[in-house]
């Protein structure tokens, strides 16, 4: 069975051969301690450095490309946006936070909360 090794917390999880699994879903299911927040490619809290197994990953999705930018070339991925179909080894900074405090997204959210009610 292929496995994902979450090296930072010294945890390994297996999944059935032939399946393609979401890395954050596996991390949540097996409570490996990977930080995350939004689960949809916006915050960047769940960025992982892929040490082995990059060839088994799906191509980066649009939100991941936009959120990570040049970090993608350095081997980072967003766990919530990444599917693997083979063995994988990843690490992360246990203290890491989202990538975007004070970002455009935060400004957009703030604007939304302060806006007039929706007309629809």
């Amino acid at each position: 069975m292929p496995c994902i090794r979450f090296e930072t917390t010294d945890r390994t999880t297996e999944y059935p051969a032939g399946e393609s699994v979401n890395v954050l879903r596996m991390a949540i299911r097996h409570e490996v301690g990977l930080p995350w927040k939004c689960g949809s490619g916006r915050c960047g809290t769940d960025r992982i450095l892929v040490k082995e197994g990059a060839d088994h990953l799906d191509a980066p999705r649009r939100r991941e490309r936009e959120r990570l930018g040049p970090l993608l070339d350095e081997g980072y991925r967003l766990a919530c946006q990444t599917y693997t179909s083979g063995d994988l080894v990843v690490t992360w900074d246990p203290e890491q936070k989202g990538l975007d405090e004070g970002s455009e997204l935060h400004a957009k959210l703030k604007e939304r909360w302060l806006a007039a009610p929706d007309s629809t």
Partner: protein, 253 residues
Amino acid sequence: MTDLLNESDFRDALEQAMTGTMAKDASFSRAWATGKLDRKHFVNWAVNHYHYVGAFADCLALIYANTPDSARDAKDFLLQNMYEEELSDDRHTDLLIRFGEVCGATREQIMDRRNAMPYTKGMAGWQYQLSATQHFAVATAAMVVGLESQVPSIYRTQYPVLIDEAGYGFTEHDCEFFDLHITSDEVHGERGYQIVLKYADTPALQQACIIAVREAADMRFNYTKSLYETYVKPDLGEWVEPTATEARVASLV
């Protein structure tokens, strides 16, 4: 009387409850994934899907109200799920309307309940009834495990052909609704399982959850099948699974 299942057996039973009625295998989903649909079919889908998923956040709010403060993690999950549906980024139903508009519908047409199938209205009513009256673990089992956790498996087969130039030829922007749900519902689905596994803590509650998941999967399967019967069958006839070479986008089948 059935014994209390351990976590692993209970999870297996919940997964088993959806076997054979996964919406990704229903005729409309298969026609979609194999490149057989036209834009007018997507308009019909958008209208009905709006009235099916439009009820979702309301239903989560009903479950939230029925969840005791002692289950704080469950309450927080429901609230976060609602927030992500409605406010954290683009409103999910707005992304759905965007796709419908690209296919030729108007916002008003999509939002007008009279344009939805009777089955869709019935399904929305079933969601409200279940969310308002059932124990929060049972309602979460139906709404999140039975319905929402299926989403990645459905859209992972439908999204590639949408944005493939040799397929339906939409842009990534047109189809953001699908891409977003592929990944966000992985997380929602998994958290839903965790809530159900934790709070369905008697044999009776576990069995009620298994029944609710089976019922939810059945509802979604038949809703998807009804889309084909109502809108596609008049054009394509009874659904017959194409061979790989017959499919418009053989590599994506």
